[in-house]
């Protein structure tokens, strides 16, 4: 455990998960029998947290499973294996981009554990240009790729290499696409590129990091630099300009230039997020990642964290109003987004993950939680953390009478209600049994 801190985030809980794995899903064993437990009402809560997962009494889906199995289903019958964005994963979870903050210096350890867990992993912007593949330019990126691949089993997982507007200068994608290190991934369909349109922690701004004077001098040609204090220089990327046509054509360009890489698009929580997601899907993106305003491992101005961007909850509500394009003979269902949707933002336990799935996400990203878990134990912290979250997800989804990661839906959520936002607005009709 190092000096890494995650204020406002359930850091202690994640550290316990990283130490104890599945045991951390329950109260400490020593307290059982001598302590009474109830809901913790002190933790900071956002719109997603305020939802409760609400199992029904009657469970026709459980009956289906019972008939299928020939025995009563239990939590362990929940299949978490998932496919999203063209990749496969043992659970509906991936490691989000961490950027180039010093706190992300555990990059290689994280990559190794993510590889061992076969979780798809996004490698963030700036890793290449700042930490500077081969010939010195992209060493840090190559180091993370190599660490991930060394541990990755033959199936599942995959690497998602992000590129932002200014990373394009460093030709991150071209460098990766032509590098022998990723040939195996490309041949097994496990390489993806993510176009970073924006990020949750600072919607409308580009990447920001603090660098020292030497680095500032080295990168002065590439970035805007502002010296805030001796030895502390703010390095700012431009956010990049997007219009409907620019986004559509950039996705086309990715598909044409890198036909063997999957195409992901990461959006910041902009007010037109639903429109942007549809443009990306229609242009052929394999996944759209929504980064809620709650997320972030990197540097952001405090005012952005408190005051800027749609909460993840609202992003998913707007996206949930989209319907899948009508298929012959099959109407779209309310609450299901029109393409593969991934969600990022404060995911630290199974409950939030299942709620995000219920709100339409196909998988959830972990960022800070992954960093804290690796900080707690560089060798097995992330593995134990995912083990605990996977167990929670199985328990929760089975409690809802469902048995696959894609099954949770808006009917599984209850919201205490806010003006203009009744929980009922999300609900879709409950499948009813015919009463004999």
């Amino acid at each position: 455990m190092s000096a890494l801190r995650a204020p406002g985030f359930p850091e202690q809980d994640i550290r316990r998960r990283a130490r104890e794995g599945a045991a951390a899903v329950f109260p400490p064993a020593g307290e059982y029998g001598i302590t009474v437990f109830g809901a913790d009402t002190t933790a900071p809560r956002d719109g997603i947290d305020r939802y409760r997962l609400v199992p029904p009494v009657f469970m026709p889906r459980r009956l289906e499973k019972l008939i299928d199995l020939g025995r009563e289903p239990v939590y362990a019958d929940v299949a978490l294996e998932s496919s999203f964005g063209g990749l496969h994963s043992p659970l509906p979870m991936f490691v989000s981009a961490l950027g180039s903050t010093k706190a992300a210096s555990a990059g290689a350890a994280l990559a190794r554990q993510a590889g061992r867990a076969a979780l798809p992993m996004v490698i963030g912007e700036n890793v290449a240009p700042v930490s500077g593949l081969r010939a010195g330019w992209h060493m840090s990126l190559l180091e993370r790729i190599t660490a991930y691949l060394e541990e990755l089993p033959a199936a599942d997982g995959g690497l998602v290499v992000q590129q932002s507007t200014e990373d394009a200068n460093a030709e991150v994608w071209n460098s990766v696409y032509t590098d022998p290190a990723v040939l195996g991934l490309m041949e097994s369909g496990r390489l993806a590129f993510e176009l970073k349109v924006g990020q949750g922690a600072k919607p409308g701004l580009g990447g920001l990091t603090m660098v020292d004077d030497d680095t500032a001098q080295r990168l002065a040609e590439q970035y805007v630099m502002k010296r805030l204090a001796p030895g502390t220089v703010l390095r700012a990327s431009s956010p990049g300009t997007f219009t409907t046509e620019i986004l559509r054509q950039q996705v086309h360009m990715m598909r044409n230039n890198y036909p063997r890489a999957r195409c992901w698009v990461k959006l910041h929580p902009g007010r037109d997020i639903a429109q942007a997601a549809v443009v990306a899907w229609q242009a052929g993106a394999d996944a759209v990642t929504v980064d809620g305003a709650e997320g972030g491992t990197g540097l952001a101005p405090s005012v952005f964290l408190g005051d800027v961007g749609l909460p993840l909850h609202e992003c998913l509500r707007r996206l949930g109003q989209l319907r899948r394009p009508e298929q012959p003979g099959q109407l779209g269902q309310p609450g299901q987004p029109a393409g593969s949707l991934l969600a990022n933002g404060r995911v630290a336990d199974g409950a939030r993950a299942v709620k995000l799935l219920a709100l339409g996400a196909r998988a959830v990203g972990i960022g800070r939680a992954a960093l804290v878990a690796v900080d707690e134990d560089p060798d097995r912290g992330l593995l134990r953390f995912t083990e605990s979250v996977a167990l929670e997800m199985q328990l929760l989804i089975s409690a809802l009478g469902k048995y696959a990661a894609t099954d949770p839906g808006p009917e599984d959520l209850w919201h205490p209600g806010e003006p203009g936002e009744p929980a009922a607005a999300l609900a879709r009709p409950e499948p009813m049994e015919t009463l004999a």
Partner: protein, 338 residues
């Protein structure tokens, strides 16, 4: 960040293609020698046509702050230019457009370097280092460029047949067949029609995949042009058809006999604001292109042009199985070679 101590060496990505001889064997082979002589005749033929049209031959810079970003998935090669990051030329397109402020008709015959994706080592038609006959005419339309490309190819082929008939026969190439290929006007088909014909995985806004293009080429009885590629498949400099948004005024020339594309071109965008916008659509940062945009902002003529891949043209004319045979020192992507 810890620096990894044992960074693995790149695995041997590509072993040399089957049948590829050692550099010495390759140079000493009568086949190679015949191919190189045919290549020179093709260059002489092309040069004669272009000079006859009044075009000025220029030397292309080898390095520059930016180069053609339009190459599909290929990596550019960095050069440390006194602390500035320069590039080896991937194509001379930006310099061709700029040169039109000096001369109305220009051409380069010059080397280009593109570190192509490793998968291209198996296409028989990609080299990391190759040459182009790169042509640009001010005030020309797409149709003008198509007609010019046809004249250049026809002139080059006829000159090679006349000047290197023995070399062609040594390679088993029937010169009468070659002459027949270029006897008739080349047909022009639309990209959309080709995509419909291919069906399957080819979606809107996408390039024709290499294996599909090879099939089309195999079915053709003569070279033909494909026109109207979609935006998102080409560089920012190809002009979008004002009458048909999302369609570029671009073209490819496809050789028969499974050789595939041997030439790309189009009518160019010359409007500053539209070029900047198109740069964003292709994911480029306009700031990188400062010198080019400065010239464009002050005005460049509208133009059209093309680049003919010399080794690809040679492969087709000489009837070779792979493009590497058309280079004295072939660089097959990923294969370590001199």
């Amino acid at each position: 960040m810890t620096i990894m101590k044992d960074l693995p060496m790149p695995p041997v990505a590509g072993s040399p293609p089957a049948g590829m001889p050692s550099p010495r064997e390759h140079l000493m082979s009568p086949r190679t020698q015949a191919v190189l002589k045919i290549q020179q005749a093709l260059v002489a033929g092309a040069r004669a046509v272009l000079s006859g049209e009044g075009a000025v031959e220029l030397f292309q810079p080898l390095i520059g702050p930016v180069t053609d970003p339009g190459a599909r998935g290929a990596k550019q090669v960095d050069v440390d230019y006194y602390g500035h990051r320069y590039k080896l030329m991937a194509s001379a397109i930006l310099y061709k457009q700029a040169s039109l402020v000096a001369f109305d008709k220009v051409f380069f015959i010059a080397p280009n370097v593109r570190l192509e994706p490793l998968e291209t080592s198996a296409t028989h038609r990609h080299l990391a280092e190759f040459h182009q006959i790169d042509v640009e005419f001010a005030g020309a339309s797409r149709d003008d460029a198509i007609a010019l490309a046809e004249r250049v190819v026809r002139g080059a082929v006829r000159h090679a047949v006349t000047a290197q008939g023995d070399a062609l026969r040594l390679l088993g190439r029937d010169t009468a067949t070659l002459e027949a290929f270029v006897a008739e006007p080349f047909k022009v088909v639309r990209h959309g029609d080709v995509i419909r014909q291919l069906g399957g995985a080819h979606g809107d806004g996408t390039e024709i995949e290499w294996p599909a293009e090879e099939r089309l080429s195999g079915q053709a009885s003569a070279p033909f042009f494909i026109v109207d590629y979609p935006k998102g498949s080409r560089g920012f400099y190809d002009k979008e058809d004002p009458a048909r948004p999302s369609t570029l005024m671009s073209f490819d020339l496809i050789a028969p006999e499974s050789c595939g594309e041997i030439c790309s071109g189009g009518e160019r965008e010359s409007n500053y604001a539209r070029i900047v916008t198109r740069m964003r659509e292709t994911g480029e940062n306009p700031a990188k292109y400062a010198w080019y945009l400065d010239i464009v902002r002050q005005g460049i003529p509208g133009s059209a042009g093309f680049g003919i891949g010399l080794e690809r043209l040679t492969r087709w004319v000489a009837g070779l199985g792979s493009v590497w045979e058309a280079s004295a020192y072939p660089k097959v992507p990923g294969v370590v070679s001199p």
